[in-house]
Amino acid sequence: MKYAGLLVMPAGFFLSIAAVILFPAPAPRAAFVLCGLAVEGLGLAVAVRGHMEARGERRP
């Protein structure tokens, strides 16, 4: 689960890059960059969740 989250994070980065390239207008560009960051946040949340579950299983 942690690795899945960490794999999602580069997807958010590429979304932000795509926004810079594809949208010359400031508003949609900013919106899609924020979407990219949101995807990264989602990936980070999944990775943290994976860490917590792994800790719970290994706790003595």
Binding site: L6, P26, E40
Partner: protein, 432 residues
């Protein structure tokens, strides 16, 4: 950002003198991290900082500086580039190996490389504080080598060496491109995210999260180290931010006093806010959290001291100071992340906030989007890359010390002697 001009002798001398003071920031952080750890690991913690600094400097000289590229007034033309959407994307530096030709390079390039040496040492050192009391010294040095050889040079080139992030303004009209005058991204966010990777890989200290009940408090062993480290760090940070503004933002001499004032105000606002929050939250102000708040204010100022006004700087500090104690509590109690030095909160979160603030308060249109793209690169590239590299490294050379070493303390286990041989070390309740 002003255009790069050849340095006058006076500016060269001033910047060089500032860079001689900047290591005090490293000394301050090392002292803070040691004080926040346990007494039975204090010598290993402080020696580890020195060892990591040495390894990072050597590896950066041998390999990292070549990949970072040599920053100069014509840096946009050096490095490995590919074309995408009709624009050049400079993604990796192509400087000389082993610093060949360094002595005869431009004065600006020499100072920039010196700054990068300090930056890589600090970036490599930050995770060490988070891995205290269970991270083996040799594994810490190996991680520092990876950081200095691969991850730091990549970010340094993107941001300082004429890489694609710094060119966002030229290529896509996003303000002045990604701005990071003092290394909030290349040093602090990188170091903080590396700390998260280390904590995930090494796991928490033994007894930190018992199966039943709340997380166990493992307080730092020396509040005097921690608070004195804060004062030491202030001196270093003032020099660091001003030197960074000269080198990376090409700030004129007249702007330098304001940058120093902004640095001080951000730290002051932050510690005032943390003092108030911990006073309300716990009934009394907490020394270690206040120190972390102070440091978070300094870290936030690293990104934006050259851009904001003094009033805005106080605001930046206040936000950093409010968020710091709350995030420390969230990470420990809700997310089971054992970070003794608070590097994730102080350096990663503080640095990210500073980068956002630089975009919010910058006068140029599109600057905020440029900053957000840079943050996307940090979270989307740096964290997965660092975690992957450290996970592979952990397979080769285990990060975590064996249980016996953790029980007797890192000083005795790794160094054969304690930091305080004439003092009685209290028995640890969690090992009964």
């Amino acid at each position: 950002m002003n255009p790069a001009l050849p340095l006058s002798d006076a500016v060269f001398a001033l910047t060089f003198a500032l860079l001689m003071l900047a290591p005090l920031a490293i000394a301050g952080v090392a002292l803070i991290n040691t004080g926040l750890g346990r007494s039975r690991s204090a010598a290993q913690a402080l020696l580890g900082n020195l060892a990591i600094l040495a390894v990072a400097a050597i590896v950066f000289a041998l390999l990292g500086s070549a990949l970072a590229g040599v920053p100069s007034a014509t840096a946009c033309c050096t490095g490995h580039t590919f074309q995408l959407a009709g624009k050049p994307w400079n993604w990796l530096g192509a400087g000389p190996m082993l610093l060949s030709g360094f002595a005869s390079s431009q004065p600006l390039s020499q100072l920039a490389v010196l700054f990068e040496f300090l930056a890589v040492a600090m970036a490599a050192m930050l995770p060490w504080g988070s891995g205290m009391d269970r991270w083996r010294l040799t594994a810490g040095c190996a991680a520092a080598a990876v950081t200095a050889a691969i991850v730091f040079p990549l970010m340094a080139h993107w941001i300082w060496g004429g890489g694609w992030l710094s060119q966002l303004g030229v290529n896509f009209g996003l303000g002045a491109g990604f701005i990071d005058g003092g290394g909030a991204a290349t040093v602090h966010v990188l170091g903080g995210l590396s700390a998260l990777a280390v904590i995930w890989i090494a796991g928490p200290r033994k007894g930190k999260f018992p199966k039943d009940g709340l997380a166990t408090a493992l307080p730092g062993h020396n509040a005097v180290y921690v608070v004195f480290g804060c004062l030491l760090a202030l001196v270093g940070w003032l020099a660091w931010n001003v030197a960074g503004a000269v080198l990376w933002l090409h700030a004129p001499l007249a702007a330098l006093p304001v940058i120093a004032v902004n640095t001080l105000l951000a730290a002051s606002g932050a510690i005032a806010a943390t003092f108030a929050v911990t006073r309300v939250r716990f009934g009394k102000p907490d020394a270690s959290l206040c120190a972390n708040g102070w440091l978070a204010g300094l870290v936030a100022s690293t990104a934006c001291a050259g851009i904001v006004t003094p009033a805005e700087s106080i605001l930046v500090g206040l936000v950093a100071g409010i968020v710091t104690p709350l995030l420390v509590e969230l990470l420990e109690l809700a997310l089971s992340i054992d970070d003794p030095s608070g590097a994730i909160t102080v350096h990663a979160a503080g640095g990210l906030w500073g980068l956002v603030a630089a975009g919010l308060f910058a006068p140029l249109a599109g600057q905020l989007v440029a900053q957000l793209v840079g943050i996307a690169a940090l979270l989307g590239v740096v964290l997965p890359l660092v975690y992957l590299l450290f996970a592979v490294l952990n397979r080769v050379h285990a990060f975590r010390v064996d249980p016996d070493g953790e029980r007797i303390g890192m000083d005795l286990h790794e160094l054969g002697g304690g930091a305080y041989p004439e003092f009685v070390i209290h028995r640890d309740e969690s090992y009964r």
